[in-house]
């Protein structure tokens, strides 16, 4: 009993250090040795670059071979129009397993909906009529906004003030990275964290 209590005391801080994730907004195996959290905003051009250029490379190099688990985190920037609405649809789509196509579409069409506000038009284009209905209903669920708020607060608590911000976690230690790291350095960092 004492052993269990001691183990619990040792493990609790580790569990607290690694926040809960929405598995529908993640790629890879949750048991991978390295976890990458990506705090991003759908209206941010650097986030679009990361999503379209860096993320596929990371998936190819580390996710397909089970070395990394990548989790998307909502960090809606203050004062950016329509970003809350976009996150509402994306998180709602995650609940029916359609996060990736919605996120891809939102980034691809960022220059349009961030200006004209037609967020739903972009989201609806990649969903079937049945899924559109589900996402519309789910986006009104208070739980969806609560999830966005919780992830934003978590980002603020981690000292994040811009997007995209990447946080690597390995062996229970979190490493917030400088903005837009060069891929060669990011790779060196990840390789250094992987078990030898």
């Amino acid at each position: 009993m004492k052993l269990y209590a001691a183990l619990l005391l040792v493990l609790l801080p580790c569990l607290a250090a690694i926040p809960e994730v929405d598995k529908n907004k993640a790629v890879g195996s949750p048991t991978a040795p390295v976890r990458l959290e990506v705090f991003s905003d759908f209206t941010c051009p650097h986030c679009r670059h990361f999503h379209e250029e860096v993320l596929p490379q990371l998936i190819k190099d580390y996710v397909v071979n089970g070395k990394m688990y990548i989790v998307d985190r909502a960090f809606p920037l203050q004062g950016h129009n329509f970003t809350r609405e976009a996150f509402g649809y994306a998180v709602a789509a995650a609940r029916i397993g359609k996060y990736q196509p919605v996120a891809d579409a939102l980034y691809a069409q960022q220059a349009n909906w961030a200006v004209n506000g037609n967020v739903w038009g972009v989201v609806a284009a990649v969903l079937s009529p049945a899924d559109q209905k589900k996402v519309q209903e789910l986006s009104k669920d208070p739980g969806v906004q609560a999830e966005i708020d919780a992830e934003f607060r978590e980002g603020v608590d981690s000292g994040i003030n811009q997007t995209p911000t990447l946080i690597l976690t390995a062996n229970g230690k979190r490493f917030p990275l400088p903005p837009a790291p060069d891929y060669r350095l990011l790779k060196s960092m990840i390789d250094g964290l992987l078990p030898k």
Partner: protein
């Protein structure tokens, strides 16, 4: 009167030498505890150094900071470590001011990650630079045999 003033200056410089050397060594130690690539990303975020120099710098600078900082603290041949620290602090301070003026929201990288460039970090590093310059000036004013 003049003697008590020079004594006060002597002890002020000794204390400043210990502070500057200690802070410098501590900053290097904190960076050595983290993966070198994390510091390399911090250097690269300033966009001031060609990429091919980033890795060698990130791998060597923290150990050099520890070595030079400890050397200055010993007071042995203080001209070299104090001049080196002053030179490095001038470069760091100029890079931080440049980043602040350019509106870059980046970490200072002075004591490892999580230290964004702000008025406070500029004041801190500026004060350290002023102290280091005083120590260097005194080191060159005195006989090389004395600290």
């Amino acid at each position: 009167m003049a003697s008590s003033q020079s004594k006060a200056l002597y002890w002020t410089v000794v204390v400043l030498r210990l502070i500057v050397g200690g802070v410098f060594a501590y900053a290097g130690y904190l960076k050595l505890r983290e993966p070198w690539a994390l510091f390399a990303m911090g250097i690269d975020s300033y966009h001031l150094i060609p990429f091919r120099f980033v890795e060698p710098l990130a791998r060597t600078l923290p150990a050099a900071e520890v070595a030079i900082g400890l050397w200055l603290m010993t007071g042995f041949w203080p001209r070299i470590p104090s001049a080196l620290i002053s030179l490095l602090l001038m470069v760091f301070f100029a890079a931080m001011v440049h980043a602040k003026i350019a509106g870059q929201q980046i970490d200072c990288g002075c004591f490892g990650p999580g230290d964004p460039i702000s008025k406070w970090t500029l004041l801190r590093d500026g004060s350290l630079l002023a102290a280091s310059l005083l120590v260097t000036w005194q080191a060159f004013r005195r006989s090389p045999k004395k600290s």
